[in-house]
Symmetry: C2
Subunit: 470 residues, 2 copies
């Protein structure tokens, strides 16, 4: 077949590709800590230069560098998003080996960032190299955009996007979230939920007081609890006035794709160690809620004293962090406004709302070039038809890259991880076989994008001929 | 007058008494940290031996020593409670001088423990010394009980009390909580509210999850909020089924004492920096709520992530600490049972209740010997009639010392602190003048207790004469 030489090249260079990834993983780049970021950014730039990309590094204010690299040529441009920063490592004692040791064991590479998402970046650049060595020039233009603030809600990326819109003009965008599920099915997403990340604050006395004052001094913890209790019902339904009326009904396309998604309910319940799902949902209803349901999650509450020691105090302040995951047509600004009005109407004018972060949802058509290329290339590499999520239940700065307005640049997302990658926890790891399959898969996507472009060109020509004949 | 020599002795030894207190305050004895506890206990024992007390030190399991010292003689015995442990120091940066430097400045002694309550202990032992030097032998028997676990809910004291009931048999008990209020009125309490200190726990997945699961994985933080919201109404009323029916009506005596209590509302509002009180209460209503209202205070909530960084997670667990301050006839066990039933009835069987600590309320008659002695001696030393709280809104291990059954040993509580002592915060301090007044006051109480005993003896004799004549 067409890809025999390509695949052979990948297999012959498997060791070298893996070493490149290990090298990158051994450079700690926890954005929240902020050390070593510049060195990793430089390494990424060198990697891109090695496959002939013209690169530039952008720095917004005191943010971490954004590496931009363009390679290939052709009518069509595609943005390849990645981030070189990694999650905090958490408790070192929970790791079997050092999070930055990048140890290979049992066919797996263990490292913070291996799955999320240095592995994806290295695999995609490796695919470009393999393509060039076996097919020659890239038939499409690829624009790598690699940021270092994924763990910080990407403030630099938004500013960069505003100031460099022309660099992001593209016919499609490839994101880096995705994995093989517990049934080894390859997961492709055609968008992401939006997010509104808020902090609610209530204030009482100027400081924590002896709790003997509990009967007469206002307690901000009670105040916050009472306010929160009006936001989500005991059954878990979001009860903010007017909220649900903004949730768009599913399209026919949505319903069809939804049928292909199948959660491994028993496996996930075991993994999470939960007895059941919210509302006792199962099957299609559960899948629909996961993908098309907006969420309102208490991410954390902090008030008073909860450490060791019998310290009975009346707290001076109470804060709760809420994160809303947003589906069409819920915009972050709308949610903040509705919540404010909802609280005010119930006498909770004193509860402050602080906006910690926001991103709009993104939802692309399965008929877009990037979606077609990803969907059509999957089975050949992964052995079965992919699972297609109309929207990924997670969120990301897709709006920055693809535009917050509709219609935005179509996006498709997938990755080299698997169900056991644990990207935010200890022992983050990837299977090296998946990493190499990721290289082979991305090579096919490059090829397929060029083919689709040719087909479209042909169709356009025919179309104009038809028009001329009229 | 009778006390001229006594007072002169105190004034002449003011410097030496202060030095003794400084010495004790320089020994850190934070129970929560646990270092240096044995050394302080030994020091306390030496102090008591110095005034001729027969002492014993009790150790319960791995707890901190309880120092017991008995001095004086006579028909009547009185227990003098104190604790040698101090509160944690909190943030060192908030202190003007080292919390264990015991610096004297501007007539004030600054030290952790100076107010709560090493100052009371040293003043009371100094009063015994001054009494012995100026009057001769103590006319009553005093039994000092000095524990080291005030900051840990006094587990050793409860065990000690069970195993040594005869040492605690007494005609009255003097506690160490009290102060001069913002109007320089001396505050005496005739009891304490009880306490039930609980932790409520809700569980979800085995660990914190990515919040994209928010729509389908049960969130223990929401669960806890919904459960809590049923416990206290938005207006601050405790809504546990059956709770309020156990609150005893005020007696005529209660109502009369209540009239003498006057809160410095404006001063307290300024100190706490609050705009108003719960329910907008003021005046008599406010005082009544403070003293005779049971409370339910959220002391702390912990769940999820609330530190820096945009970590949007679905928490795996959520806990809230609640402290109930209890008035007659609410017993801690009753409150736990009512809360359990209340939650179960509303479908919150999954919310765990963990009992962290409990103490019964104590309420004594103003006609008891200790109450009379304290009340009648106050004006001579403090210049105006004392304010008498039928119940102190705070709680303590009074039940251990005075018995949890009714009728218990009558208790009276007062101290050498003032409104600005800040006993749980930074710059804890006492005014040295108050410390010396405390010595003089306690000397008068010893004297008055003996007088009251003589009067009672006389009354008893007359009574038996009358009976014989019948």
């Amino acid at each position: 077949m067409q890809f025999t030489r390509f695949d052979r090249y990948v297999d012959r260079h498997a060791h070298s590709f893996t070493e490149r990834l290990q090298e990158l993983c051994r450079m700690p780049s926890v954005a929240a800590r902020g050390t070593g970021m510049r060195a990793v950014a430089e390494k990424v730039e060198q990697m891109l230069q090695r496959v002939g990309a013209g690169t530039r590094t952008f720095k917004v204010g005191s943010g971490f560098p954004i590496v931009y690299g363009e390679c290939g040529a052709g009518e069509r441009c595609f943005v390849i998003y990645a981030h070189y920063d990694v999650q905090p490592v958490g408790l070192l004692t929970e790791w079997s080996s050092g999070p930055f040791a990048a140890v290979v064991s049992d066919g797996r590479l263990y490292a913070r960032g291996a799955s999320n998402s240095k592995g994806d970046l290295v695999a995609r650049v490796a695919a470009v190299e393999a393509y060039q060595k076996t097919f020659g020039k890239l038939p499409v233009c690829l624009r790598f955009v690699v940021e270092g603030e994924d763990g910080l809600a990407s403030p630099s990326l938004y500013r960069f996007a505003e100031e460099n819109a022309e660099l992001l003009r593209a016919d499609g965008c490839v994101w880096d979230d995705g994995y093989l599920d517990t049934k080894e099915r390859f997961v492709i997403s055609l968008g992401f939920k939006g997010i509104a990340f808020l902090e609610l604050r209530a204030y009482g006395a100027r400081t924590d007081l002896h709790s003997k004052w509990g009967g007469i001094v206002p307690n901000p913890a009670w105040r916050l609890v009472q306010a929160l209790a009006t936001v989500v019902s005991p059954k878990g339904v979001i009860t903010i006035d007017g909220f649900s009326s903004h949730v768009a009904p599913l399209t026919t396309e949505d319903r069809q794709m939804l049928k292909t998604v199948e959660l491994d309910e028993a496996g996930l319940r075991r993994e999470f160690r939960i007895g059941g799902w919210v509302h006792g949902m199962t099957g299609r209803e559960l899948t629909k809620e996961l993908i098309f349901g907006p969420t309102c999650t208490i991410c954390g509450i902090r008030t008073g004293h909860t450490e060791a020691g019998a310290k009975t105090i009346l707290p001076g302040a109470a804060t709760a962090r809420l994160d809303f995951r947003l589906v069409p047509d819920l915009a972050p600004e709308l949610v903040v406004r509705l919540l404010r009005e909802h609280l005010d109407k119930r006498g909770f004018q004193d509860i402050e709302i602080i906006e910690l972060g926001a991103a709009p949802y993104a939802k692309s058509s399965p008929a877009s070039m990037v979606a077609c290329a990803a969907i059509e290339s999957a089975e050949e590499v992964y052995g079965k038809p992919p699972v297609i999520y109309p929207i990924d239940p997670a969120s990301g700065p897709v709006g920055a890259v693809c535009g917050v307005q509709h219609p935005h640049t179509p996006v498709v997302s997938f990755g080299i991880s698997y169900y056991g990658s644990n990207p935010h926890g200890p022992d983050e790891n990837i299977r090296l076989e998946d990493f190499l399959r990721g290289v082979k898969y991305f090579g096919r996507i490059i090829h397929r994008l060029a083919q689709l472009e040719e087909d479209a060109e042909l169709a356009r020509t025919k179309d104009s001929v038809v028009q001329l004949n009229r």
